[in-house]
Subunit: 378 residues, 2 copies
């Protein structure tokens, strides 16, 4: 990793070395407050997803505002969260492999740990590890909410797994994982609404089957930044897993919102600070930030507050700008702010958050903190 | 970062936690030997690019086989290389910003450091920093070899910058940087040959202009894994910067080679070990390796040695497999090996190399070493 971070507390914004991942702390805190207020008013529990931010610092900021705990996808992320003081973690994913499951159950001696299952083998492995560690693992059944990825079919298969979980000493059936990833970036509100309505039907089917079998379902958890208002208002989901809302990204900003909607609007709060490091021909310029600085799986970064300047190509270490009008030509050494296309994998590329108070133009670095769970892939 | 690495020395391959980045050491060493032999026979200097591997361990393996030193793109990479024992580093890129240039000149007290320029402002900043640090910086003029990214136009502009470099005490004009990134992945040999022939014309123009101005050009450096045989046989380039050859990737493997060609053929030597973590429906399976484990900017990973099984979608933490025939259906817990689409950004996602001796099926972990310059983006 780099020998030193790109900034230190007290630096003016202009002194931040680039590329750097910069948080507009004012916008970030408004985003956290907005979501906390929304969840509170809607009467649902908020369990934000740490796969976005990979930081106990952000987790504790969310928990201080009422979040019940955190989600994550990997055991190594859960380890970093628990080490950082988070006492309630849901691994919203299946964990396969004896070594990994043993690490998960070791964590359950130090925090409330929940995990998902969509296969009897996983349930058996979780139970064996929990008993070996003399701990309780809370296990949710993952139901395919429509994404055709992980999860069992709604109804009987959910009941069968819930019964297996309840039958294993060391395990507690903790509810239903019903996340529809494919719905998050459907562009129109009607499309998103229809997708979550369909997922809701599957949840209802599963809840009815559980009730018929005499099994109480304490939690229905799911939702992301694209659809959480649908789940929250459904009367079915009890817990929201949205993650990206804390920082927002260019791709989520492309989701349309209905006129007059009261859906909370989050601000861009995370940026990549970059520098023009070559400008040898009119109409173009080259930034020091390519796709090792901003993930491009959901589209290229967008240039922030520079009309007529577009990020048109990402190489490994270079970003190409196209300039529509000669008067807007960036000069060598200019600072250019980028909004990443996709927050989660962008955060995973950086070692430090640089937190700025007072805006990107005239602000001051208030804190620099590590992306503690960066690279926690296993 | 993760609390522990995914394997330890002596582990059997099957014990490697996943996702993990695994090097087939036998194939890797054959690749290094093959390129070293090629460069030696062609009479050109080899200066492999560390942007691929980000590891002093790999760098020293290359130098032990005759490489003159390393290239890299960022000052923070150069710092890690010099700290790791590399004594000759070319930053094959422009460096802009006083703090960065000061770090570069500090390195020049400990190693031979070269850097590129395509603007007079950069030359002035390099000179000022070199004099302040009482060191020599070796500066190459970057010429646009055809990629329309960085670099000045061939000819007079090259001469003007070379003269500025020579006029600055603390700087030495070290040659011409002429890398054609856009040519590396042209699919047919004829396309690549034509692109490098055009780049060669630009180099010839520049060399003639330098000669007319009485300026000796000690080095012409460039080339990548896609085109290095063209540069090596041109009689113009003196130094090769290829990087990916040490590990190869799926995208470079898509380059076509002419029948009867004697172009060296490198083997896939770097793999992502992954595990089937969900398999709830016939015809598909879900891996624990998505695009946080294998970069997808140059295409999805390819499944290694499992006929009829295709990696069809990368989510952040999940990889979807499509299965053409029920008898080939992977089972929960199965190990699946992936060849990344693009090596450089994939390496940058991982904290450790897991080196395996004796093959991916029955081998043993020989060493685990850090991706020391991972995240060195600035």
């Amino acid at each position: 990793m780099p020998v030193q971070p790109p900034a230190k507390t007290g630096d003016p914004v202009g002194a931040i070395d680039t590329p750097a991942m910069v948080v507009d702390l004012d916008a970030y805190e408004r985003n956290l407050d907005l979501m906390a207020a929304y969840a509170g008013a809607a009467g649902v529990v908020l369990r934000p997803h740490a796969k976005t931010h990979k930081s106990p610092v952000v987790a504790l900021d969310q928990i201080a505002r009422g979040a019940v705990g955190q989600c994550c996808q990997k055991v190594s992320e859960a380890e970093v969260l628990v080490d950082g003081g988070v006492s309630d973690v849901l691994v919203s994913n299946e964990i396969v492999g004896d070594a990994k499951v043993a690490r998960l159950s070791a964590l359950a001696a130090r925090a409330r740990i929940a995990v998902c299952a969509d296969d009897a083998q996983q349930v058996a492995a979780y139970g064996k590890a929990a008993r070996a560690g003399n701990v309780v693992l809370h296990v949710l059944v993952e139901m395919d909410a429509g994404a055709a990825r992980c999860g069992v079919a709604a109804g009987d298969a959910v009941v069968a797994l819930a019964q297996m979980i309840s039958a294993q000493s060391g395990l507690e059936f903790a509810g239903l994982q019903a996340y529809h990833g494919g719905a998050q970036h459907l562009r129109t509100p009607d499309e998103r609404s229809a997708a979550i309505a369909q997922a809701g039907e599957r949840v209802r089917t599963s809840l009815a089957a559980l009730q018929d079998a005499g099994i109480a379902c304490p939690v229905v958890t799911g939702a992301g930044t694209g659809t959480f208002t649908e789940e929250a208002s459904s009367g079915i989901w009890t817990e929201l897993q949205a993650g990206s809302y804390c920082f927002m990204d260019a791709d989520y900003a492309r989701n349309q919102v209905a006129d007059g909607s009261n859906v909370p609007q989050f601000e861009h709060a995370l940026f990549i600070a970059s520098t023009v490091m070559s400008a040898t021909a009119p109409g173009r310029a080259v930034l020091d930030a390519g796709h090792k600085a901003a993930a491009i799986d959901s589209g290229l970064p967008e240039v922030w507050m520079r009309e007529g300047v577009t990020y048109t190509q990402a190489n490994d270490e270079h970003g190409l700008l196209s300039v529509s009008d000669p008067v807007r030509q960036p000069s060598l050494g200019d600072r250019v702010w980028l909004v990443p296309g996709h927050i989660d994998p962008t955060v995973n590329l950086h070692d430090w958050y640089v937190g700025v108070r007072g805006g990107l133009m005239d602000g001051v670095v208030e804190n620099v903190w590590p992306v503690a769970a960066r690279g926690c892939v296993f």
